[in-house]
Symmetry: none
Subunit: 252 residues, 2 copies
DNA sequence: TTAATCACGAACATAAACGAACAAATAATA
DNA sequence: TATTATTTGTTCGTTTATGTTCGTGATTAA
């Protein structure tokens, strides 16, 4: 149990669970805290981890900052939703991932899955997941929408329709009280519809700010989904709708 | 039980379990620690293992350096090259940007240009530039290459050929002494050729490590470019070639 | 805010690992 | 066989990794 071994193991552990405390590492490797501190400091210098009081977490090397600032809204909630969602995705499966900051959190959470086949029209998702070596990513071509990195349009729909995937992961902009799924852009809606049509299981991701929000374009109804991942207990109306349509609800 | 046998056996063992301690090897081969040290040091020099206190583990030297590592090499030089290059790009112009870490630096440097039209087959470039609100980005579709986020293949060439742009920005993998532009992947080369064909002006970006590097596939000749941006004075051969073919040279 | 607690880094001690130099053993060659 | 070259073992002074102690600075609860 020497230094090098410990170092690589520490990086692994951090990648696995985002943060490790010194105490955990002390117990894990059976060395003194001082040694762990030395390890962490060395790793923080060369590697991509960041040192904190009491431990260390993943470094900020991969982030693009300006975008992430905007993304900061509800980031923690999104990460939690994403973490729970990806537990449903087995290795070796195929999935669509559409536009939205929540789906980008999903992409990050999928970095340690193996042998996924991912079709997406979100360049940020593609960019994030391209670091997963075992993952094959197919991205739709066309004009990139500036505000969220989405690729939409007629050709995207044709592109999506070529595939039939195990899972469709859709981040939704708004959910009405009657269970309508809503969005702001009709072209994006058409893409999402196409994804729903070509997925064996539909997984919706929506943090609580999306409920009751008045987006304009109707994408479909919540009963078309199989699973809904969110961070707060939805209203009774919605809960009843979910139950009636046999949509599984996961609150993180 | 001679040296050569031991050497190959050691490499095997390391490949098997990522790390071996000197103690293990001593016990395994029944020789003194000093002998093992000599073995490991010799292997570390020529072969693909890295020496550490107490043992050795798999080395990263033979592996294709990973994307994130490659991105880190020469980052400052690349940024300088990029800064100088983008001074040539006026607002409201149209450009191709191809694969490569240098071109990603260019994308970052273009964040404050206005009203660009960019066609690229590099999702990282697309992801970076999507933060420039005034910029319209068109990305080629297809399978994303994991190691560098590039999209290559027949459909990419067709896609590129649709456009005729003001500038083609090409990060090149190697430049031979005779002025040959070289790359490692023939599919990427075909994309780059297509970009050259469809650009009014060709801008090459290559830091000094690229000169004299032996990539395999010939992309074209340096005389097909109009501008070359680099960070060190190139050899006399190259300089003469540039002068003879009226290629502007910019050293940052 | 203040006090208690904990984490931190610096300094030192110790044991293990290290390389250099040389001796012994083995293999190769004349 | 004798001689040389290569490999391995041995010794020893030096470097490195880890543990220990302690004064300082950060965090948290009162």
């Amino acid at each position: 149990m020497n230094q090098t071994y410990r170092h690589s193991k520490i990086v692994e552990l951090i990648e696995e669970r985002d943060f490790v405390s010194i105490d955990e590492l002390v117990a894990h490797f059976n060395v003194t805290p001082q040694t762990i501190r030395r390890d962490l400091n060395a790793l923080a210098k060369t590697n991509c981890i960041t040192r904190h009081h009491g431990g260390a977490c993943l470094g900020s090397s991969t982030k693009n900052i300006t975008y992430s600032e905007r993304k900061a809204t509800n980031e923690e909630a999104k990460n939690n939703i994403a973490k729970q969602l990806v537990q449903f995705i087995p290795n070796d499966s195929s999935l669509f991932i559409n536009i939205g900051t929540t789906t980008e959190a999903v992409a990050r959470a999928l970095l340690h899955h193996k042998n996924l086949k991912v079709v997406t029209n979100n360049i940020h998702v593609a960019s994030i997941l391209s670091e997963n070596e075992s993952c094959s990513i197919i991205v739709a071509g066309g004009e990139v929408r500036n505000n969220d990195g989405g690729i939409i349009g007629e050709s995207t729909i044709d592109f999506i329709s070529q595939f039939q995937m195990d899972f469709g992961i859709i981040g939704i902009s708004g959910i009405d009280e009657d269970g309508s799924l809503l969005d702001y852009d009709y072209r994006e809606v058409r893409v999402a519809k196409s994804i729903i049509r070509n997925s064996r299981q539909v997984l919706l991701a929506a943090d609580h700010t999306k409920f009751g929000r008045n987006a304009m374009i109707r994408l479909g109804n919540i009963n078309e989904a199989h699973h809904l991942f969110t961070d707060f207990e939805p209203s009774e109306n919605i809960r009843n709708l979910l139950k009636a349509n046999n949509v599984q609800l996961y609150i993180s």
